[in-house]
Amino acid sequence: MAEDLLLDVAGVSKRFPGVQALKDVHFRLRPGSVHALCGGNGAGKSTFLNILMGIYPRDDGTIVVKGQEVRFATPRQAMDAGISIIQQELSSVLDLTVAENIYLGREPRQLGVFVSFPEMNRRAGALLERLNFEIDPSLKMRELSLAERQLVEIAKALSQDADIIVMDEPTSAIGEAEVERLFDTIRLLTSQGKGVVYVSHRLSEIFQIADSYTVFRDGQFVGDGLISEIDRKGLIQMILGVDMKDEFIKTNTPDDAVVLKIRDFSRRGQFQDISLDLRSGEILGIYGLMGSGRSEFFSCLFGIDQPDSGTVEISGKPVKIRKPSDAMDHGLALVTEDRKETGLVLTGSVRDNISMASLPSVCNFAFVNQRKEQSNVGRMVDFFRVRTPSTEQIVRNLSGGNQQKVVLGRWLLTEPEILLLDEPTRGIDVGSKREMYGFMSDFAKQGHGVIMISSEVPEVLGMSDRILVFRNGRMVGLIDRAEATQETLVHLAA
């Protein structure tokens, strides 16, 4: 039976000091299959992949690749055995070209020592063309957008001609159009009999591309099966391990009072003529492709950048926002799209991060009143149920969902009236997502306003009272909750 499997993992365990990270897990990958590996944060997915790739040794169990039992000591050995991985964190060398990055360490040679650049560029060009990625292989990585860099990483993994390709959150940084191209590529690979291990928090992608699944929870194997035999709700239930009523929690209802009124907001090259009214108690969704100007709009609204034109009124009063502290004075709070890049101080503690935006309120003159600060921080940790050993824990060591809660705690302490959320559930597990939805609803219910940017259609549909669609920096539609469907949104945005 093992012979016709690409990958057969049985009984693998791994213990770290104080933590049983993996316990007796199984994983079976058939040729030609896209197999989703699902689980919340801390489920053991990363540990599993690290063991598979030879980064950690395993304590127990067997890994059989194409009928041969293996024990990799280095990632190199795993690659030689036909396993390649697309990393979640980008690891490209920014000052090398696309082609150089793809063939890093495997450059085609002339006379044994000299790198043959024309040959390398030609091969890279052919590869990118085959994958339908429109990227010039001679460009420096630095000149590419984040999404394009991720595509190059994908191309790099595919260039190794592996039989097993591991994709760890491959779509977290790329736009919808690129996702489609990635999926085309995956279908091409599976038609050649290769297997893909697909890790993603985005359930809709799993149901779109995967044919089978395996679920881990708390380091243990929970179950596996065919995607065609399970529905979204069932999968979420398996991941969470609790009975789940609804994926989204929506309890707020907007009333008529306008809390934020924006007219003719424009910034050259980014967005034009954005006008909207946010009502009290409302969650306003913004849907649009990556690069459609949605995040740039938030940046200008919050005073990080300056708009070329446009007016803002908050609770009926015209306001000028020139810097973030002005926005905060007017009750705005911004949770940015990229937690690690612009949200958190990763080197700081939970306390540092939560109190960062509201320090003036706990200061006597220049000095921080540590008692007051600690009580505020403790309140937020309890409120959002941040899972952390202490408030002195360095934020880098928390999971994505807990990190996002830390950012929310920071902003809630500034007592905002209007919350601007940019992709608030990106890269966090299903359980934390639900908590996030609950918080948004509760916040809006208190008569506050929420604007939420999201690329996930079900989330926008599930949470928004109205949906604003962005395309190429322009508003192309404002749809009521009742009338919005997946088709209309995708159609308008593309």
Binding site: D352, V377, G378
Partner: protein, 510 residues
Amino acid sequence: MTTLPQEGGNRSSSSATTALQATLRTLSKYGIIVAFFVLCAVLAVVEENFLTANNLLNVLRQTSINGILAIGMTFVILTRGIDLSVGSVVALAGVVSATFATMDTRMQLVPETMPLVAIMLGIMAGMLTGAINGFLVSRFAVPAFVVTLGMLSAARGGTLLWTGGLPVPNLDPSYRWIGDGVIQVGNVWMLMAVLFVVLGYVGIRWLNAAERRSNGALGASASGTRKLTALAVSAVVSAALAFGLAQALPAIGIGQTHLVFTESATGEEAGAFAVDVTDDELDFFAEQEGGPRRRVSVDWAAEGQPPAPEAIVTAVLERIEVVDPETVMLDFDGLLVPLTAVEGLESSLDLRLGQVGLPVPAILFVLIFLAAWVVLTRTRYGRYVYAVGGNEKSAKTSGINTKLIILSVYVISGALAAVGGMVLAARTGSALTQAGVAYELDAIAAVVIGGTSLAGGVGTVVGTFFGALIIGVMTNGLQLLGVDAYYQQVIKGIIIVIAVMLDPSRRQRE
């Protein structure tokens, strides 16, 4: 992430391991301090001259300037920057202030010396160069390395231009006090008080932390009774330590006896003794207290026991021209003994045992360190420095004026480099245009050894304090051991790199 239920019998052993783990964590957190004391202990064993009053005071003097520079550097490196210009600012601030404090009429900018004004102007010169650095870095996003490299050259040039390339000699004695003065910091009682404050504070902090660990509550603090107990214990311990030290110090040779003697009321005109004493310090407060006073230090460390009263008198007489011995009094903390009554010296001397004198630069270093510690850990500004260094974009989004913070750390670094420069000039007695060359390297080394990350956002000024001390003690130790000067540099370089490689706090971060 689930922990398996423990068997009942394992409980006590597991809590013991937790305590051990916690202790090890604490130790590795303060690894730099442990390393410092280990280094000192090793040197004390292998080199008998290490643990002597003269030598330790020397180390303190030498370390102080680098330490003051390194504290400024810590602020800059915490924001992910670097300040390569501090060595040149040392020279610039030195000559700028010296031209207001020199008694050499050719170099004077104004016809009289104005020590306080000179110090202010020196600090302003440092702040100005720092402001230029900070402005360029924060406003135009030029890499700090490049900006301060430019300033390294420009400030050195400015130094040469200011004096026409000449040194500024013959500085006013009260200006020189900041470089070579000594302050009596107290006796056994003050030592006890300081120990009590430090131990009591650490004890309560430790109790609070233990409380947090044991019941997991966020921000819990220990109960009042336990705090009182901790205070009582630290009082007893500090008293024992202080008296123990007071007894032990003379035996191991730490201790310096200062005989302050004054002209008697019936004596000569004021100023009669105020000449020709070259290696002693003029009392800074002489003028306020009425009548010039001379402080003569008789160092008996090398002998291992106090000198005979006759020897003291001889030493005193050697240093000054006594017009009439009858008019000179020896002052033991207000107890006046006539110079002629030498029989009384021995018993009076006991009164002074355990009295500690510290060089002014060392006191400056410690005060600046304490101020920097308070600023970085207790103020909003300090938090913002860490936030900006950890993630500038996040800090900006949180409403922090990141440009102003970045500008300010270069101003701080410039000001402290200026203080270091003036201390150096005061110690040397003249401001040299080539002062401070390559000082930036030792300052950066102290910061890095102290565990501050060049990537910004991580580090402490406590680490820097001990980093500077380690460099100072290491240099001193190599000198005492008679290591060839060329080898000294090689060894120092190797030790710096190894220290950072082994730093546990750095490994934890990765």
